[in-house]
């Protein structure tokens, strides 16, 4: 019965979202107070019904109801309970339901936000109406093409279980976090459109900033978590593959970062209003594009699983409708801005410049991601665009971006840059000297890009930290004012430092090892001790014991595993990793070559942890901004 109830709740949600949309339109004659009360109620009903539908699906999973097709395909009686919950969003249908649940939650947070006053009430009503329409489109998509409540008869005795790759704590929580980021961008999108269609001034910016930062936090966390998971679970010690699915999450992140910065200018200086609105539209459109890439099956990629083209066409139509519609509204309402006469070295220009670089980075990634698809479509020519391409082209926007970040921190609003050079020359010198020392004396010269990367990373860290350090003696308010920016920039610097050092100075060995044999990787010696059998709840595993020595002193022991799941999928590697802040030692089991000899993947990766420490610090910065420094603006 649960599945039928779920179906009913889903249909109720469809109706509620449609009501939410209509209540925002002028064709229903209501005064504004009643309109607001009603639209708020329908937003909550919409959210509640989606939540109940999710609960029904959860109930089907927990009771092993294999007559529900989605449960039969993604669960198994011996699947541990936490993964039965994670299986809710482990495949296409359920993940879309999660998408809508999160969208309606963000909508509800907007409906009950205390940041709206009389003169912005119209923004609230229109944006809730737009969110209702977005939800309506996607609930329709679920019901027509991807219904998780579909029954099968005769039903199987046993389910096919969750993809073993997904049976992992980090990946269980990865989709909700990443999706929360994706769909959170719908709120700035709706606010921007609502503003364009009504007052068309800067009032929306302060509001949009709250949800933009929230989404940015979730996107940052989701991307970092995904990368961390790929590192220890996919078995080959890589942390970023430039896979289309990863690119699909990086593009909205880059534009969301630009949006957060542009909204600061719009809120504080009341300029770049159109640019911020455009960024909000692009950011959410890229989220939709990401959903299309991941969910339509157009990609051949490690993450996406085959689906039928009907779904792809439906999502394409949704993208066309929402992106196209939004751009038309933007074009029709765009005001011709007065000439700004900004100096290049004012904070306004520098922020604008960096936002443009962030968008170019997203644009280049989009070109690289879509190019092979388009070429195959137009020319039937099959090419691959992978890491060598992306690692190269990303430098074009990122080198100037990193350079200007530090300059922007020291610039002033409407400034002319006269004092700028005096203020930054010491830090610039310090970064160059420290960068050269690090890359030539400590690590040893590798490539010019590596040296430049280290210098720019240090530059970003120093210039980010400086405004806080300078105010250490002053009052708390002065001190914490710059803290969010400082943390975000330091986080970025650390990530870039980690990426540069680990990719330039890391060592990888694919080699064979017998019992008692050892292998030298850099200054570390890996010694294979034993390999034993182990049985898990729904898998069997071979577990190796590998001791690691440095200068004949034991520094660690790791236990890489190779698992074979009962659901007869190909075997999975669980890497053995010994890590500290300065380096990771990584061992993955390859093949049993017989006679106690195994092929193995050994890695020494210096400063690898910074790649994930950086996002963590960035998130702290965002949280400080949201919860420490309130309110955003007295005017909103």
């Amino acid at each position: 019965m649960a599945a039928e109830f779920g179906q009913l709740f889903l249909i109720s949600a469809l109706a509620a979202s449609l009501m939410q949309f209509f209540l925002g339109l002028n064709i229903i004659s209501l005064d504004q107070t009643n309109r607001e009360i009603l639209i708020t109620r329908f937003t909550s009903i919409h959210c509640l019904t989606v939540f109940l539908a999710m609960l029904c699906l959860g109930y089907s999973f927990l009771t092993d109801d294999f007559s529900v097709l989605y449960v039969a395909l993604n669960s198994h009686t011996n699947l541990p309970v936490p993964y039965k919950v994670a299986a809710l969003w482990g495949a296409h249908e359920g993940s879309l339901l999660l998408w809508i649940l999160l969208l309606s939650l963000w909508g509800t947070s907007l409906a009950y936000s205390k940041k709206f006053f009389d003169h912005t009430l119209v923004l609230k009503i229109s944006s809730l109406s737009i969110l209702g329409l977005v939800s309506f489109g996607f609930i329709l998509f679920i019901i027509y093409t991807s219904n998780p409540f579909e029954r099968i008869y005769p039903f199987p005795e046993q389910g096919q279980s969750l993809n073993p790759l997904l049976q992992d704590p980090a990946l269980a929580i990865h989709p909700p976090i990443l999706y929360a980021g994706y769909v959170g961008l719908a709120v700035p999108f709706a606010l921007a459109l609502a503003s364009l269609m009504s007052s068309n001034d800067y009032h929306w910016a302060g509001l949009a900033r709250i949800w933009a930062i929230n989404s940015w936090l979730f996107l940052t966390g989701g991307i970092a978590l995904g990368s961390w998971w790929a590192y220890y679970e996919l078995g080959w010690g890589g942390w970023w593959f430039w896979d289309p699915v990863e690119n699909a999450s990086l593009m909205p992140w880059l534009v969301a970062t630009a949006l957060v910065h542009s909204l600061i200018v719009t809120e504080k200086k009341q300029i770049f209003n159109g640019f911020s609105a455009l960024l909000a539209i692009i950011a959410f459109s890229l989220s939709l594009l990401g959903t299309f890439l991941v969910r339509s099956g157009v990609l051949i990629s490690v993450h996406s699983f085959a689906s039928d083209p009907e779904r792809g066409l439906f999502i394409l139509m949704l993208i066309g409708f929402f992106t196209g519609g939004a751009l038309i509204i933007y074009a029709l309402n765009q005001k011709r801005s007065k000439p700004l006469n900004l100096n290049l070295w004012s904070r306004e220009s520098l922020l604008l410049l960096n936002n443009v670089f962030l968008c170019s980075a997203a644009g280049l990634i989009m070109i690289g991601t879509l190019y092979p698809l388009v070429l195959e479509l137009v020319n039937s020519e099959k090419i691959s665009v992978g890491p060598p391409y992306f690692n190269f082209v990303i430098l074009f926007p990122f080198i100037p971006l990193m350079l200007f970040i530090g300059v922007a921190v020291f610039s002033s609003w409407s400034g002319t840059g006269k004092k700028l050079l005096v203020n930054i020359n010491r830090l610039a010198l310090l970064s160059i000297v420290m960068g050269l020392i690090t890359s030539y004396l400590i690590l040893g010269y590798e490539t010019p890009t590596a040296t430049l990367g280290i210098i720019l990373a240090l530059w970003t860290i120093f210039t980010g930290a400086m405004p806080v350090i300078k105010n250490l003696g002053s009052q708390t308010h002065q001190l914490i004012k710059n803290l969010p920016m400082a943390l975000a920039h330091i986080g970025l610097g650390l990530t870039v430092l980690g990426i540069t050092v680990t990719s330039s100075y890391g060592i990888t060995f694919d080699d064979t090892l017998g019992f008692g044999q050892s292998k030298q990787v850099g200054s570390y010696e890996f010694k294979l001790i034993t390999i034993e059998d182990r049985a898990g709840p729904n898998f069997k595993a071979k577990v190796a014991t590998v001791d690691i020595f440095s200068n004949n002193k034991k520094v660690g022991t790791v236990f890489p595993e190779k698992r074979t799941y009962d659901s007869a999928a190909p075997s999975m590697t669980e890497a053995g990793i010994d890590s500290n802040l300065f380096r990771d030692l990584f061992v993955a089991l390859g093949e049993d070559l017989g006679g106690g000899v195994w092929s193995m993947h050994l890695q020494f990766k210096p400063l690898l942890r910074l790649i994930w420490l950086g996002p963590f610090i960035m998130i702290l910065g965002g949280l400080f901004r949201l919860f420490l420094l309130k309110p955003f603006s007295r005017e909103i």
């Binding site: 080959w236 220009s349 190019y371 020519e381 691959s384 926007p397 093949e591 000899v597 092929s599």
Partner: protein, 125 residues
Amino acid sequence: MKKVCLILLLITSQVGSIESNEALTNQERELYQQIIQEVRCLVCQNQSVGESNADLAKDLRTEILEQVQKGSSEDDIKNYLLSRYGDFVLYEPSFKKSTYVLWLSPVLIILLILGWLRKIGVIGK
């Protein structure tokens, strides 16, 4: 021939004398590790041959290892793979008519930005 090599490799491994990376100089080893990351495993879902456990990936790894040991250069090996498997095999697309836009896109984007900044008057006036 490929199969034979692979079997030989397996046999030699079994008896403990490892005919894999052992004989490589550091330079050769780096080249080998780099190339296996840039060659696509054609039967996998977007994985390099260095990341894949598929049989084809193993064959290709053996192939690349042999060529590296023979002293072939990076270009030689890549050209050989290109002639045998087509453009799809390399993660670095070659520069030709159909990829002009792809490779020139960074330059185009930089030019666009400069033009736009000039137009709105932030630079050049």
